[in-house]
């Protein structure tokens, strides 16, 4: 875990979260703050992605809209007053969908955690009819990636290495920076398509 706040980053070319991306589709993130134009706010936190003390700092930055804020914490409990605690991502998504059914144009959604987590919340919010401009995301914690295979269209979760065997078709995929907001995943392309079996050394680059 390299981060203390979501602005700090592991400063390598691949992993920097705030520097201008080498690839246009690669998302960048800012720290979370409430959108004062909203009237109803939903904050979704991946507990394991936060450093000690970060949860209360987050609560503090949302005090201005505390009366209109609902918080969902995913994973372990956190010192966030009034939060609904959900055991895992699946339960968190159900809670988020329930909260967003009947959402209005004044709804705002914030998510903080690993990229697979925050983009899962993003997808749920879009499905509930929210616009990108009603959603704010902040990457914190692990750099692990969700990888979408361009060959079989299956996704492989929790990828921390530069090359990964696809969970769907078994091909060795090079994990690219090319990101799909619709799928909330990075693109994986077969690395040994030219010379079958010639696979470079696998390294952990997204710890």
């Amino acid at each position: 875990m390299n981060t203390t706040t979501c602005d700090a980053g592991h400063r390598s070319e691949l992993n920097d979260r705030t520097a201008p991306p080498s690839m246009r589709s690669r998302p960048t993130y800012a720290s979370l703050s409430p959108d004062m134009a909203g009237r109803e706010h939903l904050l979704v936190i991946e507990a394991d992605a936060l450093q000690p003390g970060q949860a209360s700092a987050l609560s503090n930055s949302f005090t201005a809209i505390a009366g209109a804020l609902r918080t969902v914490v995913s994973g372990s409990d956190l010192p966030v007053p009034g939060a609904s605690v959900q055991p895992d991502l699946a339960a968190t998504l159900l809670a988020v969908k329930a909260r967003l059914s009947g959402a209005t144009m004044q709804q705002r959604v914030y998510a903080i955690g690993s990229e697979p987590f925050i983009w899962s919340i993003h997808t749920a919010a879009i499905e509930a009819g929210l616009d990108e401009r009603q959603i704010r995301l902040c990457h914190s914690g692990s750099l692990k990636r969700r990888v979408w295979c361009t060959h079989c269209h299956d996704t492989t979760e929790n990828v921390t290495t530069n090359i990964v065997a696809c969970a769907g078709c078994g091909r060795h995929l090079l994990v690219r920076d090319h990101f799909s907001r619709r799928l909330g995943a990075f693109m994986g392309v077969q690395i040994d398509a030219e010379v079958p079996g010639e696979v470079p050394t696998t390294e952990e680059v997204f710890p």
Partner: protein
């Protein structure tokens, strides 16, 4: 299809209220008319005795209709000649030149619900919307702010009266815009067409009410923008100097001199008539140029914008 022209015949004229006239056009040439989409408008060339007037009118005929086009024209007291000509001189059988239908105000197809707010004759683009939405079972609300005596004038074009709400200037009947905007489900799109004060109120309320700006759409009345202080313009390439009167737009003055400028909306929205400014200071009134582009003063939209303080403009035309 900017620049392509149609020859239309006035097939029928019907006064639907003291100041509202319906005009139905059919193709004067053989064959069906070009299809028009929901929210489209038609630029009509009117040959008044002393000058040529071009006005853009929303098509209220059913979207996709290829046998007739229909428009509704309000007679306005401060007419530049267009509405007066249509109300006083146009008659059945007349032949007119128009543009092909253009569309700068199409509904957003991904919306879950549509809220339309119209001020008076600003209802016209929404008459094609409601025909389309009713046909497809799409959720909408139409709010019309008008004079009380005109609230029933548009009934023939409103297929679902329960989705239409009339507002007028009396206690208990005024539209509470902020309240309306606070109770709309996510992925609602908002449209406004009417006089500037209504459009500005709605845009302000939407911003204050937390609506993402890409969910808010407006079509302004072109005519409200076209007049102002008289000034002089030099058309450099054509070697002409023109006087722009206080009741005409720069574009109209240029056309009067026989210089062609491609144009589409004639309301400062589409950007087609963008013209380079070689000298002089424009007074920008369009909705097309960015703040930076406005500040640079290098371009002007002659359909609505003028010279600042009645000064001289030198244009690359």
């Amino acid at each position: 299809m900017t620049g392509d022209q149609l020859k239309l015949r006035v097939a029928a004229i019907q006064d639907i209220a003291p100041t509202l006239r319906l005009v139905r056009f059919e193709n004067a040439d053989a064959g069906p008319l070009p299809p028009s989409a929901t929210g489209a408008h038609l630029q009509v060339v009117l040959q008044a005795p002393d000058k040529q007037i071009r006005n853009a009118y929303s098509l209220i005929s059913k979207p996709g209709s290829r046998d007739v086009y229909e428009i509704i024209v309000r007679r306005v007291p401060a007419s530049r000649g267009g509405s007066a000509y249509i109300h006083e001189q146009l008659k059945t059988g007349d032949l007119l030149t128009t543009s092909w239908p253009g569309n700068l105000f199409a509904p957003q197809r991904s919306a879950r619900k549509h809220i339309m707010i119209a001020g008076g004759i600003g209802i016209t683009p929404f008459l094609s919307y409601v025909a389309d939405f009713a046909n497809k079972g799409i959720d909408y609300e139409l709010h019309l702010c008008c004079r009380e005596e005109e609230k029933d004038s548009f009934a023939p074009w409103l297929p679902e009266p329960d989705k239409v709400f009339m507002h007028w200037d009396a206690d208990g009947h005024r539209l509470d815009i902020p309240a309306l905007l606070l109770r709309q489900p996510a992925n609602t799109h908002l449209y406004v067409c009417g006089p500037d004060f209504l459009t500005d109120d709605v845009l302000e309320a939407a911003e204050a009410g937390g609506w993402p700006d890409n969910h808010v759409h407006c079509e302004r009345f072109g005519s409200a923008l076209s007049g102002g202080e008289a000034f002089r313009a030099v058309l450099q390439r054509s070697g002409k100097q023109i006087e722009v009167g206080e009741h005409e737009s720069l574009l109209e003055a240029i056309e009067r001199e026989g210089v062609e400028v491609p144009c589409l909306c004639r309301g400062g929205a589409c950007g087609v008539c963008l013209t380079s400014v070689l000298d002089g200071e424009p007074q920008h009134r369009d909705h097309y140029l960015s703040k930076t582009e406005r500040a640079s003063g290098k371009h002007i939209m002659p359909c609505v914008s003028r010279a600042r303080g009645g000064g001289l403009l030198v244009l690359d035309l």
